[in-house]
Amino acid sequence: MVEILPPAIILLVGAGLIALTRGYLRDAVVLLAPLATIWAVWQIPDGVTLTMSFIGYQIEPIEGSAVRRLFALIFSMMAFVGGIYALRQATRLELSAAFAYAAGAIGVAFAGDLITLFIFWEVMAIFSTVILWCGGTDSSARAGMRYATMHVLGGVILMLGIAGTAVQTGSIDIRAMRAEDFSTWMILIGLLINAAAPPVSAWLADAYPEATPTGTVFLSAFTTKTSVLALILLFPGEPILIGIGIYMIFYGIVYALLENDARRILAYSIVNQVGFMVCAIGIGTELALNGAAAHAFAHIVYKALLFMSAGVVLYRTGKRKCTDLGGLFRTMPLSCICGIVGALSISSFPLTSGFTTKTLISEAVIFEGLAVIYFLLAAASAGVFLHAGIKFPWFVFFQKDSGLRPKDAPWNMALAMLLFAGLCILLGVYPQPLYALLPYPLEYDSYVPGKVVFYLQLLLFSGLAFFLLLPAMRRTLTITLDFDWFWRIGFIRLSNKILGISAQGGKILSRGVDFFLGVFRGWLERLLGLNGVFARSWPIGATAIWSAVLLSTYVMIYYI
């Protein structure tokens, strides 16, 4: 008997209704379905509340815990505010797919076993690809195909690990594990592919900017953050994650610095921010996991806000390259201010949500005495301000006068931005409600005067570095090569080469066969042909001799 309405199902039904309804009725569904989902998330108690039987395994579609509710809460809040943002601009298909995608993320958040996790994981992969294809351009179609391929591959690897674990241990429970054998490694790799970990980080910045202004807002929120949650549940304290996280942090910064596409800059900074979370999960202490969860929560809000701001610019101007933009603050003050709030938050500026959540991770690093990691994270914090905090608003809204005078955001987009900008500041000023939702009890005050001074120095002087180094950061009409070169060009060339070689080999082989067939045929013709040995007429004498020879041979053999 189902006593609780599964939140993911509510949102999935909402997604279906969006596809079927029109006008105000559809608007009502867009607004009410996420609210109902938030309510349902709130009702999920700790522990397993729903079990079913599936291919001989007991599956647990709903298991509650503090961290699961926290992620499901922010996923449904994202669906709500994203729905407002996309209310008038997104197509029915896109909005419906976005809600189904969010439902997949919520399903993963409450999955009590690996099979349920996998099913919702694939729901997310399918509907996020649909969102990408809603971009409607050639490049979004191609990027969608690359994205789908990557996620199907990730899904297969994950399935391999799940099946292996199920066979080896007889259990499909979601519990903390270590990557120590083939199956657990496959699970870890499957999860990390969705987190945009190396060497496949490129899928994220390749795909997300190709979606519509509204589509990217949804895409930015779910895939990588469900992966963060799955890592928190399955691999807390896995040491390799620290190194992977650090790589992602600096990869994001360097590639964002080289990038010209405003939305791709933000996409790279997702990898950067998820790197902080992955690193914290690798540390794995209660404080670090609190930090990862809190940072994921805050990150979804400010990253969506940044993509909303960039989305309004794209929606109004049709442009997304820094070289084409600039000076938009004149006519888009609201988008500009909301973009700046998002940018300050991602840079963990005091009084924003980034400060009250990211410093938790630094605190965890200090507690563990990891000096090198601490200084790398501090450098990365400065780098975030450099590559996203100033670079994004500066190149889009200030920089030079591009001559563009677009209108500011439509009312619904403006409302969505104001809601999330308000939340960024609220969580920065008063983070206690968020702290209360974290998986472990937390006594923490981020506003120690010395710490605030340290971060202000760090950030403001990186601001100085930005303006002094501006000539070195002139935008160019370029893209930057990444590991995706291998699957966009390298592997294709390699497979062509292999096909070429095998075709060549085939030719040589068939020539060889032809040659031997020719020899055999000549021999047969000599023997059996019209003028062959057996077809010729022989004199009686010769025949008699041959008969005598055969007969005597036969007799001799018989005698022996």
């Binding site: 600096f250 910064i253 360097v254 610095l257 080289l258 000076g327 603050f329 004149r330 006519t331 200090i366 000096a371 601490y374 200084f375 501090a378 450098a379 400065a382 780098g383 450099l386 590559h387 006068d401 005078r405 120690v448 005067p449 010395g450 710490k451 605030v452 001074v453 340290f454 971060y455 202000l456 120095q457 760090l458 950030l459 403001l460 002087f461 990186s462 601001g463 100085l464 570095a465 930005f466 180094l469 070195a472 950061m473 160019t476 009409l477 370029t478 893209i479 930057t480 090569l481 990444d482 966009r488 060009i489």
Partner: protein, 84 residues
């Protein structure tokens, strides 16, 4: 609208920009001086030094921009690289 459409928005006038730089400079100095009043706790020794955050932030950014620049020489390609 009418005001913001003027070619010389007050925010981009050279005088404003000069003033902004002066204010920014003063804020920078202030954040370093503030360390005297609100001492930064050094968890690993050097991070408690006077002005460490400022220098570290500045030089970390310098290093990252330079690394990005050098990588850019090798990795940057024309926008239509993958289209051809």
């Amino acid at each position: 609208m009418a005001i913001s459409d003027k070619p010389n928005h007050w925010l981009v006038r050279p005088r404003t920009i000069r003033r902004l730089w002066i204010v920014f400079g003063m804020v920078l100095v202030l954040t370093v001086v503030l360390q005297q009043i609100a001492p930064v706790k050094g968890y690993f020794g050097v991070d408690g030094w006077f002005g460490f955050g400022a220098l570290f932030g500045f030089f970390a950014c310098l290093a990252m921009v330079l690394i990005a620049k050098v990588l850019g020489w090798f990795l940057k390609r024309g926008e239509r690289f993958y289209d051809g």
